[in-house]
Symmetry: C2
Subunit: 411 residues, 2 copies
């Protein structure tokens, strides 16, 4: 593992010699190579799918694992879209001349070597490799065991393009030891690896955060709330609440708990229940909620659970202060929303809640690189530092200060 990472680190120097147009040409070759190797990719994927059958994986997992021609075409298009992004490296982020006459340019540069740990979906392999290559980073990938053959086949196709262009294959590679011990080693190799991005279950993320000496950008859980204030337009509020819960319950920006102002609870809750019943949402509620509509009992443990399913907690709170109190107690710092027409109340909520994204009058489902207009998304960071919230390709860069002098010495 150490030698493997040492090679990855030294390969990163090659990337600084490539121009943006060279990188984009190679990315387009990669997209076409995926297309022309569709049969090999499908064969490798068939092995994973048959193992999945043997191992009795759930149908949801198998669906994520499956490759077909249209999904491979989708992977190729994703790489072409990444090629079309603006060059992320060498951007002058800030610049000024000091009192000593030094010209300072704060310039974006690659992070270096990025380790990415992920699960199931094989397209993450090509998406991530392309994002890292576009931003002149080396990636070392650790995919899920269940997708091993598919990931190896994808990496082989991308590496063949690198070789054809006289570039080291270690620019894009799967880690040689993908066991738990391999991961344990990887996350301690701060000498060679500059950033680890774990994408997966809570257990994996906690393990990596607790044990890594390398910097980590987490993609942790989304315990998202929507608060309906007494000054909300109720039609808006109901549409947003339904959207935030029901449109795609299995994702991190879906709502888990709906907070309703006590001043409008007796009017709003029956209307909300009618809509959620139509959407087959399983409802749990606090005692006050239970006194107005028929729902199961919600406990503190429920308020702390990311269901990732069509299940919702409802709690009646006393105004925006009650909502803020509940959110501060249970937020995971992902996305929080208030529905109100009152600007003072809205600003109080937006300013009091410490989360990556805070909304007024919109669904938390918009927390997403695509919806933000970032073009491609590395993920949604729950870090407080470096990258927060939807993380575009910019999140794969850092900066240095380039300073131009004319003989200045310090007085």
């Amino acid at each position: 593992m150490e030698q493997f990472l040492e090679e990855a680190k030294s390969a990163s120097r090659v990337l600084s010699t490539l121009s943006g147009s060279e990188k984009n040409r190679i990315l387009k070759e990669m997209a076409n190579a995926l297309r022309s190797n569709t049969m090999d990719l499908l064969e490798a994927n068939a092995i994973d799918m048959s193992d999945a059958d043997k191992n009795d994986l759930s149908s949801a997992l198998k669906d994520r694992l499956l490759l077909d021609e249209s999904r491979i075409e989708g992977m190729a298009i994703a790489i072409e879209e990444i090629a079309a992004l603006k060059e992320p490296v060498g951007r002058v982020i800030d610049g000024w001349v000091t009192e000593d006459g030094l010209k300072i340019e704060k310039t974006s540069i690659p992070i270096g070597v990025i380790g990415i740990i992920y699960e199931s979906r094989p397209n993450v392999t090509s998406d991530t490799a392309a994002l890292c290559f576009k931003s002149s980073n080396v990636c070392v990938l650790k995919g899920g065991k269940e997708a091993e053959n598919s990931n190896k086949a994808i990496a082989k196709v991308l590496q063949a393009v690198l070789s054809k262009n006289n570039l080291p294959v270690s620019l894009i590679s799967l880690i040689p030891d993908s066991s738990r011990e391999g991961v344990a080693k990887l996350i301690k190799m701060d000498k060679y690896v500059d950033l680890i991005i774990p994408r997966g279950g809570a257990g994996l993320i906690k393990y990596v955060s607790d044990n890594a000496t390398v910097s980590v950008v987490k993609h942790d859980k989304g315990q998202c709330h929507t608060y309906i204030d007494k000054d909300a337009k109720l039609d808006n509020a109901i549409a947003i609440a339904i959207n935030a819960k029901v449109q795609r319950p299995g994702v991190c920006n879906a709502m888990e708990t709906l907070l309703v102002d006590s001043a409008i609870a007796s009017d709003a809750l029956p209307k909300l229940k009618a809509e959620f019943d139509r959407a087959h949402t399983e409802l749990k509620g606090c005692l006050k909620t239970q006194s107005i509509i028929e729902v199961a009992n919600a406990t503190d443990e429920d308020y702390d659970t990311e269901y990732l399913a069509n299940i919702l907690n409802i709690k009646v709170v006393d105004g925006v202060d009650g909502a803020i109190e509940h959110v501060i107690k249970f937020t995971s710092g992902h996305s929080e929303a208030i529905i109100t027409e009152n600007i003072t109340v809205a600003e109080k909520f937006l300013n009091s809640i410490d989360a990556a994204v805070v909304y007024v009058n919109a669904s938390t489902r918009f927390t997403d690189g695509g919806a933000f207009g970032f073009g491609a998304e590395v993920g949604i960071s729950t870090n407080k530092l470096h990258a927060r919230g939807p993380m575009g390709i910019e999140g794969l860069t850092t900066y240095k200060f380039k300073i131009y002098g004319s003989g200045q010495i310090r007085k």
Copy 2:
């Protein structure tokens, strides 16, 4: 410790209710409180100084520890200068409207609770407390044991101003258990602490980096190089080299190794030696250097040592490529300089070296918040992420996305 940090965390909510002018008024009160409590501070410091005598501390350490009237006045002025900085919180860093009509404001916010671990100089206590307060962060401070009485006295003065203004004293506090075990606990408390800044020896920094689950911004060593290219103006080069080594050898932005292009070595080295001899610099050199001037032998270990003293390694290298190779091998990613009039050579060096600050034709001694024009400096980060290089008060903020909608739901 846990209860102490829980209080610190919950106190942080109070800070969001203070306006910039209220914070500045309170900071000015703190500055004046230090002035009016000069006698108490000197008394507390006298106990530390007498302990220092008993424990046979070095005279350099004792000098750092010492408070006198003018140093206390300096601390008060530093707080007033921090009060005069532009408000760092609530700045709209970026903003746009999405295709869905959502207005996004990327807004600077405090980090939350910041733990700072430092040594010796008592003024760090008031500087850091003021920087954190100005940026609406709670600070939990862990100063050096040798400065314990001074630090307690300073914290007491600042806390009295908080109390007078009906603010919780836990906004600025020393950790209750400042033993090694206390630190071990602090750096694992990611539930309450958002960032740890260790300032001190290599041992402390490695210990914190290896064991913290909280995010860390390191202030690690500066293994800084200056490369004199054949196309340098030699007078410039000599003046810069002397400045980078001699002006203040004990700091992280001082040069440790001078690289000289082989094409000019026989001309440049005798001139450099004459100047360094005048400055009483102890010189070590590679074999080629030794064949031109009389110096001790420099080993790879020397090239890897941050002397923090008036000692310098000299190495003859073959052009900019030789310089880049040496720097990549030994850099600590702090500050690196090239002296040349050739723009292509300069850009090659600036782009090939991965360091926080890269210079052409200037002394590495400029890597400093003051010289950068940041006004006040939290320190010089050797992190690659979040904050890199001189870290102004901006480095004590992160951001959130505030999103203003009008009923948008995700399609």
